[in-house]
């Protein structure tokens, strides 16, 4: 029998509903985030110079040929910045998404399989004792300087925070009668996960944005310390090399060398943060 689910909204309608519920600041920030994503996808295509094009003279000031001038090696800074969009946001999405996924899945596993659960909880607690940033730095120093290792280090050491929050939420949800019903009827892991997931997704979204935010900060920090693939110019790398410039304090080069990359990082982190501002309030209607 063909049943039409009249309460189900089409994708467009639900997007519209989501959009109209947002505050002005969140609307602005979601547009900014969308622009960042578009830049990550298509930005490098517009880069006027290639990643290994060192043919220009070094340290040129901004001009029509080099919108943000060139660095010591004669590399176009604007092109590097555009490539940085894909690299930095890529790391952010991979590491942030990865740690959110790992944390949430482990939290669900720990709630669903009580025997293994204790072990995972203890592990998460132990890892929460250690200062996350220091551990990531330490591990990344000794790992081979590749992008994959940077992402893995961030995923591996930042899931416990996700785990803590997701675990509390999932545990509360598992105790609800609607989930108990599924367990009493002999539903399997997927049945339970589906029910829990429907309650969890707002929290999951917030955690995801939070972790992406954190991941881009970590990557920038790692690059700032000179850790990671030296050939891939993320924003962090760009900041690092701008700071390495010998006359940093004596001329205005930082205006087009350091500042754009810094603003990119700050803009991305800020708009992600505002996107998950807690504006919950008791509704009158």
């Amino acid at each position: 029998m063909n049943v039409i689910h009249s309460d189900r909204l089409s994708l467009g309608a639900s997007l519209l509903r989501w959009w109209s519920a947002l505050s002005i600041s969140k609307r602005v920030c979601s547009v900014i985030c969308l622009l960042y994503l578009l830049m990550a996808l298509f930005g490098p295509v517009f880069a006027p110079y290639g990643a290994d094009d060192f043919s220009s003279s070094s340290l040129l000031p901004p001009s029509w040929e080099h919108l943000l001038g060139t660095d010591e090696m004669g590399h176009d800074i604007f092109s590097m910045l555009l490539q940085g969009f894909r690299l930095s946001i890529g790391v952010s999405l991979l590491a942030g998404g990865g740690s959110t996924l790992v944390g949430t899945l482990l939290a669900f596993a720990s709630c669903y399989f009580p025997r293994v659960g204790g072990l995972i909880r203890h592990l998460a607690n132990l890892m929460l004792i250690l200062p996350e940033m220091v551990v990531i730095l330490f591990v990344a120093i000794f790992a081979a300087p590749t992008m994959a290792n940077t992402v893995l280090a961030i995923v591996f050491f930042s899931w416990p925070r996700v785990f803590r929050i997701a675990h509390a939420k999932i545990l509360a949800c598992m105790g609800k009668n609607k989930v108990q019903y599924t367990l009493l009827l002999g539903g399997n892991v997927l049945d339970v996960a589906r029910k829990v997931g429907r309650d969890l997704y707002p929290v999951f979204g917030t955690l995801l944005v939070l972790q992406c935010n954190r991941a881009v900060t970590y990557e920038t920090t790692l690059a700032f310390f000179g850790i990671g693939d030296p050939l891939l110019k993320t924003w962090g790398r760009l900041i690092r090399s701008a700071l390495n410039y010998e006359n940093f304090f004596y001329d205005t080069t930082f205006l087009w060398y350091l500042l754009p990359a810094l603003l990119c990082v700050v803009g991305f982190v800020a708009s992600l943060s505002i996107l998950i501002f807690d504006e919950d309030r008791i509704k009158d209607d």
């Binding site: 029998m1 049943v3 039409i4 689910h5 009249s6 309460d7 609800k176 009668n177 609607k178 108990q180 019903y181 599924t182 367990l183 009493l184 009827l185 002999g186 539903g187 399997n188 049945d191 029910k195 429907r198």
Partner: protein, 260 residues
């Protein structure tokens, strides 16, 4: 106890910390029987129901279904055993995902039954059985239904796996008097039509309902009195049972009885 007993509980004991929720409770239910479990809050009624359906693991004792012992936890029970005992929650709004439509709520049970190759009553027929008027609400989100309607949806959901025992855990306490009576009439009808045994947990007895077979009175985790429904008002001896009777007579005085 004889072999034709459908459900037997023997020496069930459960402690929550120092509080004893159940103390050596033994109870039996024959096929198609209607058992009314009465007791004040905290007397262990709900714990009993949850132990029977496997949601709570007892410290001691076991539950037998048709003479075969059941695993204490529902996760270790075979699907046939889980399907045979269906539980109706006190609060219908907590028992279903309110964003799901009535159809989705019911189809979940059908889906799980089919996966285990267990004969399932089609969702629409179960709903029609319970109340044909509810078919109008088939596509509505469960949260938009009234408490009475939603509880009927829960009853329909419990019928899908074709159970042998229905446990209604204070299933009417969220409803008004008329709604509660309607639900009990419905449960009584289901019992007759399908031959399902019914274990209903309540905290006060309505002696005008005559379709019950037995009454079990709980107090402080003990089963203090167990009598056939018809003889209860004449033979009940336990002080708590007497109090139940008195309160009923107070609110619903019989012909010729008066009180100030």
């Amino acid at each position: 106890m004889s072999r034709e007993m459908l459900l037997q509980c023997s020496h069930l004991t459960k402690q929550y910390g120092k509080v004893a929720a159940l103390e050596a409770v033994s109870l039996a239910l024959s096929p198609g029987e209607g058992l009314l479990v009465v007791g004040e809050t905290g007397s262990g009624k709900t714990t009993l129901a949850k132990v029977i359906c496997g949601g709570v693991t007892p410290d001691e004792g076991q539950v037998l279904l048709q003479g075969r012992p059941l695993a204490p936890s529902c996760r270790r029970r075979a699907f046939g055993e889980l399907a045979a005992i269906q539980y109706i929650f006190q609060d219908p709004y907590s028992a279903v995902d309110l964003r799901q439509t009535v159809a989705q709520v019911l189809e979940e049970a059908v889906r799980i039954c089919r996966r285990h190759r267990h004969p399932a009553t089609p969702a629409q027929r179960a709903l029609e059985d319970v109340d044909p008027a509810l078919l109008q609400a088939w596509d509505r989100p469960a949260g938009t239904l009234s408490g009475g309607q939603l509880q009927k949806v829960c009853v329909a959901r419990a019928l899908i796996p074709n159970p042998k025992v229905l446990i209604a855990d204070e299933a009417t306490s969220m409803l008004d008097q008329a709604g509660a009576e309607e639900l009990f009439r419905l449960l009584g009808r289901i019992r007759q039509e399908r031959g399902v045994a019914l274990l209903a947990i309540v905290h006060d007895i309505d002696f005008s309902q005559t379709f019950w077979d037995r009454i079990a009175v709980f107090q402080g985790g003990h089963l203090v009195e167990e009598l056939p429904f018809a003889q209860f008002s004449a033979q009940a001896k336990h002080p708590y049972s007497r109090k139940l009777l008195e309160s009923y007579r107070y609110f619903y005085p019989q012909e010729g009885e008066t009180h100030v």
